[in-house]
Symmetry: C2
């Protein structure tokens, strides 16, 4: 367990008047302990009280992993028979000696499975969201975390450049996505990618969350590729749009608009302003050109150990940016049934402003003669 992070967590819990937290497998568990657990049908929960006692409930089978923990964790284990699981939670709850009635949880990660075992083990305890507390802990990245993200950006950029010659008319979205994943892994990405790449050509590019299909690229297509790499548990998340041969003038025009919006959004970040300002900077460019209704999503999202995490870049978000916060800027224009463009970069807020971690060319590159 990372001692400074653990001490910051205890301070934050006390400040938020929480008696402790319960964390299941996910980014916060790894952030605090460094221990890799998968979310499975067998519940794993880390319990921490404000006195600094840390207890892990886990399957007997996984107990070997505890040796990698830097700080001592008490462990309560159970067998493969689910009838033994509640007992392990009861023992852990008793050993935790919670000093107050409120236990923080992560609503985006804790499942009803773990909640029910905890509720049974701790009658009278209230389970409340610790999202703000934990986001406050994880949002501001330290230099080591930013260095890992920088490396994740580097791997992603190299993987895309290696994949470009493979992108030709007749190749399917699925084949291109698989080739890109192979290159990501070969070039050093960890296997737990932030997501499987979006590769969407022609009309599919008008769907911002398209899944790669069997559709083959054709001349005149726009092609959106949204991909990322993982390094030391930290993610990159980039998007570039390409032209497959010559494309319509309107497509070139929206690509130019999105580039201007991306530039404005990337320039807007600095300490002391609300996250919403970044959204307004990018959205303003597209709205002023009359395409506002076709930019159908927020300008970006926080990025780190999660593909999407705070701070979220939507107009109403009054969260104040601070040095070390990391997020995406990814404006897009989507013409339903026809074509879409998105250009996405990764940003870190600095003491004076912000820095873009990614530097692949952003202009619409024509990939086929």
């Amino acid at each position: 367990m990372s001692v400074p992070r653990f001490l910051r967590l205890l301070d934050a819990l006390r400040a938020a008047k929480l008696s402790g937290v319960a964390i299941n497998p996910g980014p916060t568990l790894e952030y605090l302990t460094g221990l890799p657990f998968h979310l499975m049908e067998r519940p794993v929960v880390l319990l921490i009280n404000t006195a600094g006692k840390a207890i892990l409930v886990l399957p007997q089978l996984e107990k070997g992993k505890l040796a990698a923990s830097a700080l001592p964790l008490s462990a309560f284990t159970y067998s493969d028979n689910p009838e033994t699981w509640q007992t392990a939670f009861d023992q852990a709850a008793s050993a935790l000696e919670l000093a107050g009635p409120t236990l923080g949880v992560e609503p985006n990660h804790l499942r009803v499975l773990e909640l029910q075992y905890l509720q049974n083990a701790m009658p009278g305890v209230q389970f409340v969201s610790a999202e703000v507390v934990l986001a406050g802990l994880r949002m501001r990245k330290d230099p080591g975390e930013v260095a890992a993200m920088r490396q994740a950006v580097k791997i992603a950029q190299e993987a895309l450049l290696t994949t470009l010659p493979f992108i030709q008319p007749g190749r399917s979205e699925k084949a291109i996505a698989s080739e890109l994943v192979s290159n990501l892994l070969r070039l050093g990405s960890e296997p737990a990618l932030p997501f499987f790449p979006i590769v969407s050509g022609g009309p599919n590019s008008a769907n911002p969350h398209a899944t790669p299909s069997d559709r083959e690229l054709a001349e005149g297509d726009l092609l959106v590729i949204d991909w990322g790499a993982a390094y030391e548990g930290y993610f990159s998340d980039l998007t570039r749009t390409f032209a497959i041969g010559p494309v319509k003038d309107e497509y070139r025009r929206i690509a130019d608009l999105v580039l201007q919006a991306n530039t404005a959004g990337r320039a807007a970040g600095k300490p002391g302003i609300p996250a919403g300002d970044v959204d307004r900077a990018a959205r303003g460019v597209i709205a002023a050109a009359g395409y506002g209704e076709f930019f159908t999503h927020r300008t970006g999202h926080g990025l780190g150990r999660e593909g999407h995490e705070p701070p979220y870049m939507y107009a109403e978000n009054e969260l104040i940016l601070q040095p070390g916060m990391t997020y995406t800027v990814e404006p897009g224009i989507y013409l339903p049934g026809r074509s879409g463009v998105r250009i996405e970069d990764n940003i870190v807020v600095t003491d004076a402003g912000c820095e873009t971690l990614s530097d692949l060319p952003r202009e619409l590159l024509q990939l086929s003669p």
Copy 2:
């Protein structure tokens, strides 16, 4: 939405005296609707009542996906501003017109995030586990589902054979795992693999849930590879153990024992017996040879749209096997700090007995001269 599955669900809900179900993104949502949604920070919930009304709460951004649904779904959408999310849930709850006070949920999938929105939207409603109801629906695979699993096995086997020449002393576990993933994708696996392969050599093979490391293979190692493919949403999950050059006699002996246990476990399945019998058949072989304490996990787990799903193969499980149930048989022996062996196959229960879907040789193959 699959109409026969939907009607079977309604019957099962009525039989279980549930007024409806709430399903978030995961295998059951895809099983029922065919719609691919990812688990994200934006909640997506499918609500169904016993009268057959089906309602989806989802981000406005994702609304385009509904066109792919075969049956009409009412949709309530929300914007990127989280303050709008509860309203969508309130509207959906009102439209659902639940006829009774109990709503089924999936404890292994529903998060506190969705639960809180649902609880706020439906005061007085009790949220109870629908795990048994939904497992009953999904455990018995139809011929189309078994055919998809058969194809997932075929892809996985071909990918391993293609990877074998890459496996040599000096190659790292991570490099071998990445090469195997590349081959899985090239040979037709869907990108949503059941899991990233376990490739564990030498002492690492003694950890059944090892993560591929930078350790390089060396002569005398045992090498455990546990991998799977995805096809039409269905998974395979196989394990084979290899010898890197000549290995100790004891390692050959445990490999032979595990093979006998695998054979006994594979032969045991048939309709009408408890799942625990399969565990006892495999475990008995290893225990009789004096290695019982080194077989530290259950003999297997159900397999389908999830990497782990019911039925679970542990001694105490009295669940009765029925035709169409699919599961793994994967006994192992793990000598702590030294070496491990596991041999895993995928089984489908037939009318008369069971069939093993996988047929790669199971003997300890020596990969290096």
